[in-house]
Symmetry: C2
Subunit: 351 residues, 2 copies
């Protein structure tokens, strides 16, 4: 019998945002890897690709021409997962096992830059501020549509994350229902706020700043950290220090600070394995259902799949799908590694 050492012993941690546990196996990163390696493209991308359907001036799948856009550019997804059609539906069919209801929504694609080869970490702060402005405008415009109650801003980066075009872009799926993960988060945030009259993340960020060990970057308005309950090896969350509940409530200083931390974090990510680091990221913020939502607190999740190198990822498979998420390196260790990485992009050094 020995005393619990969180850095060495297998344990579970609790995620208060969604009320789920994660299994942490610190010693497990030592096992040898004989499994699948990802292929990564080391090909230098051109600034403009005539075959890319996101580059300025090119033709998209639906035959439409992209304008000669100069900063960011937004268009409706031609193969949207939801449609805008209003559907008549009899809600009284409340079957226990066959419960379904139509969902209305809009999907948009947000090109981050006219440049085919420029990812977030390589952009100027002003360019990133411009993307933030685009997100604000989309959140407002889509949120103002009567039936839209939630606006999900996200990015799939890298082919390993299902991204089919390297041209830097994100997506927005706006819809009438609160998606499952957002609803879970909202329930947790609400019950914390009702009890404490403060947002859960306001108190969490303060608690993290106090211990320091999971902080990756801090500036005047934002903190990037590896959550205590992170499931992906290098998962991070950018949280505002102030309890601001949506991106449209940022001050000008907050927008700049957010652009800076986005650039710094994604630069560290690229520097980790000297590769354009794949991830899915997305913003969680107040729903657009017309209610006030003082419990909501702006944050952005980064879920990167890589574990050991540019080609070896963590597989969330059998045990993880049937049992619970499991990680092989502690969040403290990951935060330390990310914290110590340079803010200067590796590509700018070799050029």
């Amino acid at each position: 019998m020995k005393n619990f050492d969180i850095n060495e012993d297998p344990h579970r941690r609790f995620n208060p945002l969604i009320n789920e546990w994660v299994l942490v196996s610190p010693h497990r990163a030592k096992r040898p890897w004989q499994g699948q390696n990802e292929t990564i493209s080391t090909e230098e991308l051109p600034k403009y690709d005539p075959t890319c359907y996101l580059c300025p001036g090119n033709v998209r799948a639906n035959g439409m021409n992209n304008p000669q856009y100069e900063s960011s550019f937004v268009f409706e997804n031609d193969f949207a997962a939801m449609k805008q059609d209003e559907i008549i539906f009899e809600d009284d069919i409340k079957h226990t096992f066959f419960k379904a209801k139509p969902e209305q929504g809009i999907s948009r694609v947000v090109c981050f830059s006219p440049r085919h080869d420029l990812t977030l970490p390589e952009m100027e702060i002003a360019d990133i501020e411009n993307i933030i402005k685009t997100w604000q405008k989309e959140y407002t415009d889509l949120g103002n549509i009567k039936y839209i109650n939630h606006v999900q801003i996200f990015e799939n980066k890298g082919s390993v994350m299902g991204c089919s075009n390297p041209h830097p872009h994100g997506q927005i799926w706006a819809q009438s229902s609160l998606p499952t993960q957002v609803e879970k988060t909202q329930n947790s945030l609400k019950s914390y706020f009702d009890k404490n009259q403060k947002t859960l993340l306001e108190d969490y960020v303060q608690a993290e700043l106090k211990v320091g060990e999971r902080i990756v970057i801090e500036n005047d308005h934002f903190v990037a950290l590896v959550p205590f309950w992170a499931i992906w090896p290098y998962e991070t969350m950018i949280v505002s220090k102030r309890a601001v509940n949506k991106i449209t409530n940022f001050t000008a200083d907050e927008s700049t600070a957010f652009a800076k931390i986005l650039k710094q974090l994604t630069t560290k990510y690229d520097n980790l394995f000297n590769t354009s680091f794949p991830y899915s990221s997305g913003i969680h913020q107040s729903p657009t259902d017309g209610l006030i939502h003082p419990e909501w607190h702006f944050h952005m999740h980064f879920y990167p799949p890589l574990l050991r190198s540019a080609t070896v990822k963590k597989f969330m498979v059998g045990y993880e799908m049937l049992g619970e998420s499991q990680r092989d390196i502690t969040p403290e260790k990951s935060a330390e590694i990310l914290r110590q990485l340079s803010d200067v992009h590796y590509k700018s050094l070799v050029k």
Copy 2:
């Protein structure tokens, strides 16, 4: 405005086993795919591979020799995610944000066959019955250990599912806590049983048999179906018709019927894209916490990643991670495709 057509219109479906929704976009399978293709090995495997650490007689990473086993063979995982050490822990540290507790557990590997090249669909029924016996024995032995309250039997098949060795094998992770997904399921099963004095799955299977459209295979004792709320394109579930709550309570007939449906289902899977079909599968059944658990009902989940072909999978990424699971083909369509596939393995035809 049009009337809701579940086969055409985007909608959400409810999963009563874990109380979560899934977004279904029937029209979306039409979009062209320009993203990542998986590499598949078309290489014929030898019956015995001298470099395989799972083949009979070979040496494992820890220096131990495998016996010359003739049916299935079980050993302790050298790189287990949990350890058997008892850890002293002060449970009074109930921090809101930093909640962690040590977890005790055992991981085992179950080789399905001495043959390096023989997967489930290619085995004889008697061989599969033998695997079922092994699972029963492990469930009993592990479950009898005082601190083990849950035994998770699962298989990761294919390199795309993180499996690092093609030698047919599964795993068992046994532990002191109920894993997150199992706890969610147990809560749903329990509240249904308390209300109806019948298991949720007993009633669900009957409801499915009545409509028929999601049934893939039925025999005297088991049904393989695509759940109404399936998230993966070709996800299925094998459910016992009788409310049997664990594998050790199978009758002899049930064991044979289970072996048969396992062979048939995995054969159909291989025949879908003429490939050794990757998936993660696993059994959900009564915990081994010493309580009676009449609410539990034996079932086995199959989560296969492929969507369009042997090389194009479904990516559960940005929207799915941040919002909710999303599928591009209806469960009814998937069930129809699987149902119509032959029970004769494609390899046995070409040989």
